[in-house]
């Protein structure tokens, strides 16, 4: 995979953001985003976040935290 080598931030985009800020908070990120804002008026019910990978650290990290890892008999 390629690393992030450049950004899509352009002078035109900065100008658009500045105009948007002048116009007030209700105009959104350009007209194209207005449809999303309408959706945003009604928060959606949600389920719990699903982790893609385990947050459990390897056993050797446990010693660092001062917690003794369990050792199987």
């Amino acid at each position: 995979m390629k690393p992030l080598t450049k950004t899509s931030v352009t002078p035109e985009l900065l100008e658009a953001w500045a105009e948007q800020d002048h116009a007030g908070p209700s105009t959104g990120a350009g007209a194209c985003c207005l449809s999303h804002q309408v959706k945003a008026m009604q928060p959606k019910p949600r389920s719990h976040m699903r982790l893609r990978k385990s947050r459990v650290l390897p056993v050797e990290h446990l010693g660092v935290a001062g917690v003794q890892p369990l050792v199987e008999a």
């Binding site: 995979m1 390629k2 690393p3 992030l4 080598t5 450049k6 950004t7 899509s8 931030v9 352009t10 002078p11 035109e12 985009l13 900065l14 658009a16 953001w17 500045a18 948007q20 800020d21 908070p25 105009t27 959104g28 990120a29 350009g30 194209c32 985003c33 999303h36 804002q37 959706k39 945003a40 928060p43 959606k44 019910p45 949600r46 389920s47 719990h48 976040m49 699903r50 982790l51 893609r52 990978k53 947050r55 650290l57 990290h61 660092v64 935290a65 001062g66």
Partner: protein, 241 residues
């Protein structure tokens, strides 16, 4: 795991053999932000930081933030208008005793020799919404860039500085960081999907970015979860063309 720009060989801890270690020391990427006083565009640098850099940011930001908050209080500004992130300690955000630092990327926007904004992201979660913005009911893999923390430097906080008649040094730093997250999502093949829990003061900002809110969750401090779906991400990216 998020991809890393470079892979370095360093000595392992017992110093008797070399091992590959992913050091987060990418070359800075030029990025534009807007000067608050002149409203001219300025070239800043987007840097990938390590957790060792974070306490330095606290040292630079905390005194200014505390002084400005105290001045605002003295001016009669009520507590609900003060920054809700004022207690954040960046140096404590990624604790290597309990978290694996390689799961996270830390981006900082640097200009005039100081960090103007900071963002911590990971890619450990699935998206909750499908491409139409509805709650996904399938278990199809939909990885997402999750923003753990995003904040601009205290001298760029327009709302707070406005209470004492000051103008921010730089503008659009938060928007730039959000755009970076979207870029990162596209680069990683996540089709622009970005998710985060927003502080109430920042909710309108993320709605302006086209993110869709979901119910507040008590086990996340009752913060509202926001998600950017691919079509909205394309709009943000398209705006850059």
């Amino acid at each position: 795991m998020l991809r890393r720009p470079f892979l370095f060989q360093v000595y392992s801890s017992n110093m008797d053999e070399m091992e590959d270690v992913e050091l987060v020391t990418a070359l800075p990427i030029p990025v534009l932000i807007r000067d608050g006083a002149t409203t001219k565009n300025r070239e800043a640098r987007l840097r990938v930081l390590t957790i060792n850099d974070l306490p330095t940011v606290d040292l630079a930001w905390k005194p200014y933030l505390n002084n400005t908050v105290e001045a605002a209080k003295a001016n009669g500004v009520r507590w609900w208008r003060l920054p809700q992130h004022q207690e954040w300690e960046w140096g404590a955000k990624i604790d290597p005793n309990f978290m694996d630092p390689s799961d996270y990327l830390i981006y900082g926007v640097e200009c005039d020799g100081a960090m103007q904004g900071l963002m911590i992201v990971n890619d450990m979660y699935h998206a909750l919404l499908d491409d139409d913005g509805e709650i996904a009911d399938s278990l199809v893999e939909k990885p997402i860039i999750h923003i753990d923390f995003l904040c601009v430097a205290p001298w760029n906080l327009a709302e707070l500085l406005g209470t004492s008649g000051k103008t921010p040094r730089f503008k659009s730093v938060g928007r730039v960081l959000m755009q970076i997250a979207v870029d990162l999502s596209f680069e990683n093949g996540y089709r622009g999907r970005v998710g985060l829990y927003a502080l109430p003061q920042a909710e309108s900002f993320y709605e302006k970015c086209g993110m869709i809110p979901m119910d507040r969750e008590c086990d996340h401090e009752c913060l509202c979860y926001y998600e950017l779906i691919p079509s909205a991400a394309e709009v943000l990216r398209g705006g850059a063309k």
